[in-house]
Amino acid sequence: METVKINDLACNDLPWKVIYDTKRCTLCGSCVAACTFGAIRPKVERRRKSFSDTETPEPKISFSATPVITQVNILKHFCRGCGVCERVCPNNAIRSERNPDSRFNVVYQAATASGPKRGGRNNLEVQARTLDTIRVGRISQMTDPSLDAERHTFDCLAPLGRVLPAQNLPFTLGPDGKLSKTGQTPPVHWIYPIIIGDMSIGALSWRMWEAVSMAVAYLNEECGLPVRQCSGEGGMPVRLLKSKYLKYVILQIASGHFGWNRIIKAMPHMVEDPAGVLIKIGQGAKPGDGGLLMAAKVASHIQQIRGVPKADLLSPPNHQGLYSIEESVQKMFLSFNAAFKFRVPVAIKVAASATSVSVFNNLVRDPYNIVGGFFLDGIDGGTGAAHDISLDHTGHPVVSKLRDCYLAACAQGRQGQIPLWAAGGLGKTGNLAADAFKMFCLGANGVFTGKLILQLAGCLGNEHSRCNACNTGLCPAGITTQEPLLVRRLNPDRVAENIVNYFLAVDKELRKLMAPIGNSSLPVGRSDCLISTDKAVADRLQVQYVC
């Protein structure tokens, strides 16, 4: 008998256990071929069998060599529970099962002297979602009739861009009694109130990025929904920058400035303005961290777009040379406004934080009126790569912070001047329309979503630690990988179709919520139509408590 080596890694130390049934397995090898993490391998087991082939027991022993599939107990190759093995097995012979007794966090750090990293999302949340304790509870009846969701005309658009207070509008009253605009106002674009959040062309596979772009173009040109997508940090293919489809893309710049060299060089050749510029200061999933693209994902086309070698690409946690909000307003925002000749709204994205209201107040009071959107990203947002500890233990939920920002604007009579856009776990349960609607009522002009788009593409990850391996470049769904073989698992046409259909469904569902409260335009700030069954939530958000 082998001595117990307690300090060796065992499969039951790992977060997932592979359950395998020899009897059902035909040894086709599909699971091993499909597992991108190398978490399973074929091996030959020595089997001992005692039997008797006579009428009275005369035990004999036979030994055989049996080929099987087995889980690998190597830290680098731990099973992520993605379930691809189960999906490809023709006989249901293999699956992974969550290991409630996992010692992973301990053994990983003990072995590597560093914390685990992953992609995906916060896996620690155990409470009910705040938004799920809220309902749309003010239903129009009798005196203010509900509308017909199918037939009524609804105005479901949200502003992106700096809105001036009415007294500052450059209006002149003509002799005909009509107002005319005789001066410059900041650009404001009315767009669909759901933006596809910033996922870079490095974080996503080229097929996934292409699918999102196709879906956005289709939604705009065929469905009449002015949906915008944000490029994420890392630039865009030059051909797309020079195409007419640029108008559907919000270009992002983050602290690494990746991709901006190409963007600036493409500017003279642009035939359309981009939909906006989003300056990323922070990210809800990993506030305080900069962007991170692991070398494994820096494929040749990424190197080309970003102008970088194949190496880990880290954006600093803060914009270099940026020491104050005032400075950011004057330097960064003004220069980006100027870059597109003040035709393109420039917005900021920050991680929700205890300090968000101060940042928002500073921006909303800036006398130059050049910040055209405040994108607030909460802890439940996603990321392509981060340390576990950042994902699970840093961050701030978005709901109360969005509300705080809105109420801060109200207190100053400045609501709507910097449109508020919120994200971070919205649509987590699959119903984005309900989450978005409640956020509008709490004061958001719009919302943005990223992870949900990946779910639509077939992402296998979830909030219960399943997969979340976007950082490895080994995405089993071909979504967050640059490995050609894996990328080909993804059918971009099907993904685009899913995204388009989902948006069409969300659009209908938004109407289904607007109709019963009798609204034909987005109910931004209509907290009066929300109720909560949770007293603490109701008090915190200043909505009616009901029981």
Partner: protein, 368 residues
């Protein structure tokens, strides 16, 4: 449902007309109150048209407080009208001890003061009196403005009319512009300040319906002007929006409709003035309403107007003779006051227009 009405005439009209206008629609309201604003006054007030008149209902204590404030500020009383009230047991009216309608001369330091500053002095004085009376609920001050009288009371409009002796017409208490409403609001507590018509610096509105955007309207308006207070009724928002647009921003009346019921985006982008309309929608998004409402109002120059929400969920009709125009929630109200008119020329305003009547009784329909 609420019922509202308004009379605009070339001649001076007694408020009994307003009572008749509203009483004919009695089945449509719940007899819980009567309120009216009279502007462009005749009769006993005709000599004081340029001097501010205080409309106040209060206790003796409240009267003392108000008098003291006015005295300290230097307002000198030049005229007073005290209605002869006729209380009878069984009357449905929550009467106040004093109903004060007093006209004042401006303080000496106002001579040479720009008109706007004078107007702000009047408003600030009213707000000061209001705040002082609110402490122990010693009274309610409705207006302090030249050529305007406001009366509001809780109870059965017929009894209120009898109590104030308003059923018998005479020439002493008249106006060319009268707006009136019956029924207290149902959304909030019954208080006198919640009764339409609402008045601020020459602007009046009264509304039939419910403001479903009350919360966002209120949150936006609360910081815009010191006079935007109270919000006892969701309909006060319509007055403040009009005041903000017309007086504070200096925009013409026609833009009111673009603020409260903006055109759908698909229509705006086809318009020549789309830049202006989009800018208005953006900047004043929180003043949008979603109905259901009919709003009647007057401007400081006594122009009378009416608009409906974008879904046209509340009724209103405008009837006219040579010397009188009547706005009414129900046509029976117009029939009562103007039985001889040509009813084929009645206007039923649609969801995209403002109907405007000037002092010459020219009626215009402005398409949004």
């Amino acid at each position: 449902m609420c019922r509202i009405g308004a009379i605009k005439s070339l001649n001076y009209v007694h408020p009994s007309k307003a009572l008749q206008l509203m009483n004919s629609q009695q089945k449509g309201h719940d007899n819980s109150g009567f309120a009216m604003v009279m502007q462009d006054l005749g009769g006993i007030f005709s000599d004081y048209k340029d001097k501010p008149t205080l409309s106040l209902a209060c206790t003796d204590e409240g009267l003392k407080i108000a008098e003291e404030i006015l005295d300290v500020l230097g307002f000198r009383q030049v005229f007073e009208w005290a209605p002869e009230t006729r209380w009878k047991p069984g009357m449905d009216i929550k009467k106040m001890p004093n109903y004060v309608f007093r006209t004042f001369d401006y303080p000496d330091y106002c001579s040479g003061m720009p008109p706007r500053d004078k107007e702000d002095l009047l408003t600030n004085t009213r707000l000061r009196i209001r705040a002082a009376l609110e402490k122990d609920e010693t009274g309610f001050v409705y207006s302090f403005w030249p050529d305007v009288i406001t009366l509001k009371e809780i109870g059965d409009p017929r009894d209120i009319g009898t109590f104030f002796g308003l059923w018998e017409p005479d020439d002493s208490f008249t106006a060319k512009t009268i707006t009136a409403q019956c029924r207290q609001n149902t959304n909030y507590a019954i208080v006198r300040y919640a009764a339409h018509p609402f008045f601020l610096q020459g602007y009046v509105t009264l509304t039939n319906g419910e403001n479903t955007f009350y919360q966002k309207n209120k949150e936006f308006q609360a910081t815009l002007h010191p006079g935007y207070i109270g919000f006892e009724s969701d309909s006060q928002c319509f007055l403040y929006t009009m005041h903000y647009m017309h007086r504070q921003l200096g925009w013409p009346l026609q833009y009111y409709k673009h603020i409260i019921t903006p055109l759908p985006f698909e229509e705006v982008v086809k318009r020549e003035d789309k830049e202006v309309l989009l800018a208005i929608r953006q900047s004043l998004a929180h003043l949008e309403i979603n109905g259901p409402n009919t709003i009647i109002g007057t401007l400081p120059d006594f122009t009378m107007w009416v608009v409906c929400d974008a879904k046209k969920l509340r009724p209103v009709v405008v009837g006219k003779t040579k010397d009188t125009v009547v706005f009414s929630s129900e046509v029976c109200g117009v029939n009562e006051i103007l039985p001889e008119r040509n009813w084929e020329e009645d206007i039923y305003p649609n969801e995209r227009e403002i109907v405007v009547v000037d002092n010459n009784l020219e009626v215009q329909r402005w398409k949004q």
